[in-house]
Amino acid sequence: MTSIADRIAGAAPADEADARGAATADLTVITLPARAERELRLDLFRGLALWLIFVGHLPNNIVTWFTFRNYGFSDATEIFIFISGYTAAFVYGRAMLEAGFVVATARILRRVWQIYVAHVFLFVIFLAQIFYVAARFDNPLYAEEMGIMDFLKQPDVTIIQALLLRFRPANMDVLPLYIVLMLFLPLIIWMMKRRPDVTLVLSVVLYALSWQFDLHLSAYPNGFWVFNPFAWQLLFVFGTWCALGGARRMSRVLSSPVTMWICAAYLLFAFCVTLTWHLPQLNFLMPKLIEQWMYPITKTDMDVLRFAHFLALAAVTVRLLPKDWPGLKSRWLRPLILCGQHSLEIFCLGVFLAFAGHFVLAEFSGGGPVLQLVVSLAGILIMSGMAWMLSWYKHSADKSAPRKKSAVGNADMAGGGS
């Protein structure tokens, strides 16, 4: 039985000749007790999360029916944050072991800066879109909704608030959350290295406190952060905990059939509940008491039901998809894996393409299902092509650079951080 733990324990020698060469190269020169191979399942699912985030940001279309959120409580955001915590701990945990706390922290901060710049870039694209709509779209039916343009009247305030991460347009909330989580990564890893379980417990306590005392970060002009970092940190810290040995210790629980049955039952329950959202005809089947207890399932504070749904999904996935599954090396999954390996770039590209796709669909008056399909597929193709190019570039850059330099300089890119 292969478990999630193998990804850490795995002492398989990294295959230099493998296509993944560039990605694994820097890990192989790090002298750790066990040389770990790159965990392709992480890349695969992060790639999938990126595709789904892209499709999910397109206006309501038929392809959205393939996204998880229609079949359960959790969605791609959970996957993205968890895997980001996992890989970040993996990469920077090593860096901390190798180069010490200060250097690793400096590298993490450099990564934070990259993410911040990416966020500002997306904000500029958003501005372009909103200016365009403001100038072209004149529909008396939506006179009220067009009031969203009011902030254009005070760019002096709005743009500064955007730079402070306090003004975030819709759909641009993942990166600010990520920035805050990454800022605390040095502390998290430092504690994890000493008392992993205590750290995890502290994270759970913070999560509970955020519910009890309604902790949140305020936003501009009013309101709050759409993804509450006080709550979402739990998923990120849980990812680091798994990466730094937790997964191995959990493997017994994970391989027990009882766990599987509980997970499967919960996933089925969540599926049935979501079914009543999409087919309101079935709504009368939902007992009112359960409804009142369960709703609303908040995404902002990462409802316990969402977290549990993610855990169940992860447990079942790890069980069904062993680490050495040959399909992971097939060319058909290659685009997904490549996207997962360049997640920051592909994430930004995805948000940009979602804006562009929205524009295309709007200009052609809502488009038919065919156009929706074309836009979605085109976006995924562009994302995959870009990921392939980035990977090709890094590979050839690594080959021409001196061995030592590439090993150190690329730690951020090695699937970590992003």
Binding site: H57, P59, N60, Q129, I130, V133, R136, F137, D138, N139, P140, L141, Y142, A143, E144, E145, M146, G147, I148, P169, A170, N171, D214, H216, A219, P221, N222, G223, F224, V226, L279, P280, Q281, L282, N283, F284, L285, K288, E291, Q292, Y295, P296, T298, K299, T300, A354, F355, H358, L361, A362, S365, G366
Partner: protein
């Protein structure tokens, strides 16, 4: 809710069939599948008023999306009144209190004062859009809508909540779903019928009845959409008030 299994099965089959039945693409028909208009919450005050033959007094508390700038009479409140008059034997008085650029919390604090003098049997409260645009904390929003609904019920009126418009062009700028979800929760909690304007308009858009996506359709589109909303809402009110056909024309 208790129902015997046979009724339940029959009902689900019926509803299922209704949902499957293809919608006609005739824009004037304002077709809406039955499940979008189902509500378990009654409107006792409305029912009593009509059964006793008294005039039906309605107040609409809404934001700018309850009006059309240059032709007020063709906005949905006016269309609702006209359609109710057609359907019912009693006179229908309707007044509109537009609360432009106010959050639900701001409206809720003096919503009773707004309707006080008119002693309405029914208050239709359309809200959520401005809160979504300002991204007000959804929990604060939920509390405010709940408080407002309870205050109105306390003042002796039935309440119908109406949610946001479906607005595909601003979908990437205004995040509607937390506000839609929370209005649904409030409606369940306080047994208030929710008129799901968002789902209804999205249905029309998906069916191709109205092109809500494109630019520059002007006044005509707005009028047609409001007309349909008014007519569908009239049907919703009559159904929720459980009026026997005898009370209707």
């Amino acid at each position: 809710m208790k129902s015997d299994p046979v009724t339940l099965l029959g009902l689900s089959l019926l509803v299922g069939l209704l949902a499957i039945a293809p919608a006609r693409a005739d824009p004037a028909s304002c077709d809406v599948p039955a499940y979008l208009l189902l509500t378990e919450s009654p409107l006792p005050k409305v029912e009593a008023a009509i059964k006793s033959g008294r005039p039906l007094d309605i107040v609409v508390v809404g934001s700018r999306s309850s009006s059309i700038a240059t032709s007020e009479a063709s906005a949905w409140p006016g269309r609702l009144q006209a359609s109710l008059k057609e359907r019912l034997k009693v006179p229908v008085n309707l007044s509109v209190e537009l609360q432009v650029k106010k959050t639900a919390e701001e409206v809720a604090t003096d919503i009773v004062k707004l309707v006080e003098g008119k002693k309405p049997a029914l208050v239709i409260w359309q809200t959520g859009t401005y809160d979504a645009m300002r991204s007000v904390d959804p929990e604060d929003f939920r509390t405010a809508v709940g408080d407002g609904a309870v205050a109105l019920q306390g003042a002796g009126a039935d309440v119908i909540l109406m949610n946001l418009q479906y607005s595909p062009r601003t979908e990437s700028m205004i995040s509607a779903s937390p506000y839609l979800d929370n209005m649904r929760v409030v409606a369940q909690e306080h047994e208030v019928p929710l008129f799901d304007r968002f789902a209804i308009m999205r249905h029309w858009s998906d069916q191709g009845d109205f092109d809500l996506f494109g630019a520059g359709h002007g006044l005509d589109l707005a009028k047609r959409v409001h007309d349909c909303i008014g007519r569908v809402l009239a049907k919703f009110v009559v159904d929720a008030a459980r009026l026997e056909p005898a009370q209707q024309n």
